[in-house]
Amino acid sequence: MSGVRVLVGTRKGAFVLTSDGRRDAWNVSGPHFAGWEIYHLKGSSADPNRIYASQSSGWFGQVMQRSNDGGATWEPVGNKFTYDGVPGTHQWYDGTPHPWEFKRVWHLEPSLNDPDTVYAGVEDAALFRSTDGAQTWHELPGLRGHGSGSRWQPGAGGLCLHTIVLDPANPKRMFIAISAAGAFRTDDGGHTWRAINRGLRSAGIPDPDAEVGHCVHRIAMHPSRPSVLFMQKHWDVMRTDDAGESWREVSGNLPTDFGFAIDVHAHEPETIFVVPIKSDSEHFPPDGKLRVFRSRTGGDDWEALTSGLPQRDCYVNVLRNAMAVDRLDPCGVYFGTTGGQVYVSPNGGDQWQAIVRDLPPVLSVEVQSL
């Protein structure tokens, strides 16, 4: 691998940042789809030139884009997301039944071995799959058909399926997360699902350890250990060592355990990164200091990474899809902020530099190692 391509989704378009393996000089391409919200774009690991993007706007709804040349050119593909059968209802904020309505695609997860197969996590929460390069989409209805579906309730950002994690060792297994329902796992390729929230405790719901109702913000996995998952919950950083059968808190000495983003070092499965955020009402770092926290012990024991990051008067947020790692050696770590900065650390978090400082608010960051 000799370089990286960073795919950045923002409130007003997509940007593609490229560099060689030193990751100290960058070319910036964009905005692509200027003026549109780009919730997520992600490349296929089976064909890095194949990239999918979710483009949406309050005026014109959902558009899907596909690139076959690494983001140089794009073509619109299928944007019809129809829930399977009679959609039914979930709970609205006031507790009343509310019909399932498609709003947008939050997350795209290309198959690990087929560039034409891609999963889409959408709001209102459901999982769709395309096997023809995103031309047509079909719901995997077993997820919404989970017995708890009618009790799912949206978080402040909507009832969104925002995280899809594929198990590289078991093509029948995948994990998803929904705000504010929780985490779910399938072991049969998406036909049936079960809630995997045992061990989560959420003070903001009537039964703190209920089967569903937890506001999971993000889940991350190291591909060499697919049964070990790390979670940034609304409050609490959690881990499971048994594919979600049970979770335990690993927030340890973090200054706050609220946050959105979490990811795992490419070569060290016990090294994880989070960006603590002061609280769910403030949505900025504690003390105006933008700090990534790294644990080399799989949680509990955390160190602040500050070199190159603003340590005063910084009040940005880092959203759930806005952190990623590359697979180069040393591992590069990336995150984007609501202030429009995209930071890179080419050495596993020790030093940081801004690739760009003035983009629109960053919604997502993904990295391709080329």
């Binding site: 706007s57 005026w59 014109f60 959902q62 019809k80 129809t82």
Partner: protein, 98 residues
Amino acid sequence: MIRVVLPAHLRTLARVNDEVSLEVEGRATLASVLDALEARYPALRGTIRDHDTHKRRAFVRFFACEEDFSHETPDTPLPEAVLTGAEPLLVVGAMAGG
């Protein structure tokens, strides 16, 4: 020929630089013009009206001859000046949001 003026974002999506001209059989209605528009430019499907119900998206409006047709039924005939091509049908993104 029916002339249709699209908002800038939809011109970009359809990859057209200017207004578009459409052949519509019979007396053109809002629905038949949008059918023809989406047939010519499939990327616009779902961006102006719902794929299945054809309900207009909330922040999209249809103007012609200084009149608002947004709340008319889809089979309402368009004005004579639109049918003759003297005036365009305007598809407008409402002034809203940021």
